[in-house]
Symmetry: C2
Subunit: 271 residues, 2 copies
């Protein structure tokens, strides 16, 4: 089972949590890929360089200067810091962004209705390269920077989306809207693990012990109707179900702190 | 013949020269590795972040904050920008630093006589990984950040030294002072190409047409005695001869603008 784990800013920004998580991640058995977000460092650097940070609906608008900063911070500082820590923990990690070996090809998002600038949506994964690196015993650490091969542009991309594109592609599905054109056919059993602030999908948002262990599509519809699942959890779950419906064997939503527990102590989504 | 090409700040800092060089580099046939320096961007970012830049004998003193900036700029911005441009030029590039797959292990330099901070000297190369990536048709783009595996630290490293360590190791030699411990034995025919400001070693430093086409150790000693070779050229040539004497087939010193010419229009050092 190939494990693809995504961590966000709440872990990346906290050195102690990050260290603890990476030791647990290093101990996970089998082939694995870590996808990381960027965290607040990019915003701090932008501020120091007098680059205005504009967020629309929680997503960063990426102009040319901001693209340089996120490339530096995500693909440089965060990525290589994680690789160094994993190597120290005995995990043979290699850090890549979407341009490396055209790992993650994307297309720049249309400027309507909202112009996010240099932001891309994944279109294809170089599954042959991923497979070759994993088979060589390497663990991939992936920064959320993708590559528009037509224009030769680096593009800022949502890390949740990168993780699900990788998972779908490695499971033999098509991660984008266009035709996937990778010559090598890879079809692995894939588990996608989203780490976030809570322990899982909670029946009662104020009670961390109310984790719902398993949710199928039918249950998801019921939970929406009951108002148990709402706000930021909705797109996350939609994304997760799309992965399952495109060949990913299992998707888990859990806390980064529970990654060493059986079933990761979170919510498992099933078909 | 494996070609290892090093470019410095004079190319990295000049987008037009960089673009032209990368198109020429992409067209070079056979297996190849590009090692790049950092350029002035790191100094600019340090200034914006109120981090003082201290240079001793032309080398950057790297404190903890400076290490973060050079990791960002060298392994992030510069590395991924080059990878994107090479991909666009039809060259299947993958960008790495020394921590990735423990590509370049180093030891932190002793604080006496000068404390350069987080600066490392190469000790071992993961030649098996380099060989595997090259055999998969990939071109390596290497940032001058190495990895102290004992301490789990990223270290800033001179790009000339990174290039010669890679060249010596891939030719089957030992790039460091300690024992090389890589289990895979790799022994390639290697050509090391240093690109710098001049067309080559000049008989008359003011006359770009006075390139000396070939220099052996004997000739090098004579040129030193005559005062033709002096100043910054001395350590560069010493480094180059050390590479040749440790198994590298050929070392060329030339201008990045001449990389598509036969013999690179520069000075070839021979045993």
């Amino acid at each position: 089972m190939l494990k693809i784990v995504k961590i966000g800013g709440n872990i990346v920004d906290n050195p102690e949590k990050l260290d603890r998580f990476l030791v647990d991640f290093a101990a996970l058995e089998g082939d694995k890929i870590l996808v990381h977000g960027g965290g607040r460092v990019a915003t701090t650097i932008c501020r120091s360089l007098d680059i205005e940070t504009v967020m629309i609906k929680g997503r960063r608008v990426t102009d040319e200067q901001t693209l340089k900063v996120v490339t530096m911070v995500y693909a440089g500082l965060v990525n290589k810091t994680i690789v160094g820590k994993l190597q120290r923990a005995g995990c043979d990690a290699i850090g890549l962004c979407g341009a490396d070996g055209q790992l993650l090809r994307s297309v720049r998002r249309a400027p309507q209705p909202i112009d996010y600038g240099f932001v891309g949506d994944p279109e294809a994964v170089n599954t042959g390269l991923v497979d070759r690196l994993l088979s060589a015993g390497l663990t991939l650490v992936t920064a959320p920077i993708t590559f528009d091969a037509e224009r030769g542009e680096l593009l800022n991309t949502n890390a949740d989306t990168v993780a699900s594109a990788l998972a779908v592609a490695m499971a033999g599905g098509n991660p984008g809207k266009g035709a996937s054109s990778d010559p090598v056919t890879v079809k692995r059993e894939v588990e996608l693990i989203y780490c976030f602030e809570k322990k899982g999908v909670l029946r009662n948002v104020d009670d961390e012990s109310s984790v719902i262990p398993r949710i199928g599509r039918g249950e998801f519809v019921r939970l929406q109707a009951e108002g148990v699942v709402a706000d930021g959890m909705l797109p996350k779950l939609e994304n997760a179900f799309r992965a399952i419906e495109n060949g990913v064997a299992r998707v888990v939503i859990c806390s980064a702190e529970s990654i060493s527990e059986p079933g990761y102590g979170g919510t498992t989504l099933v078909k």
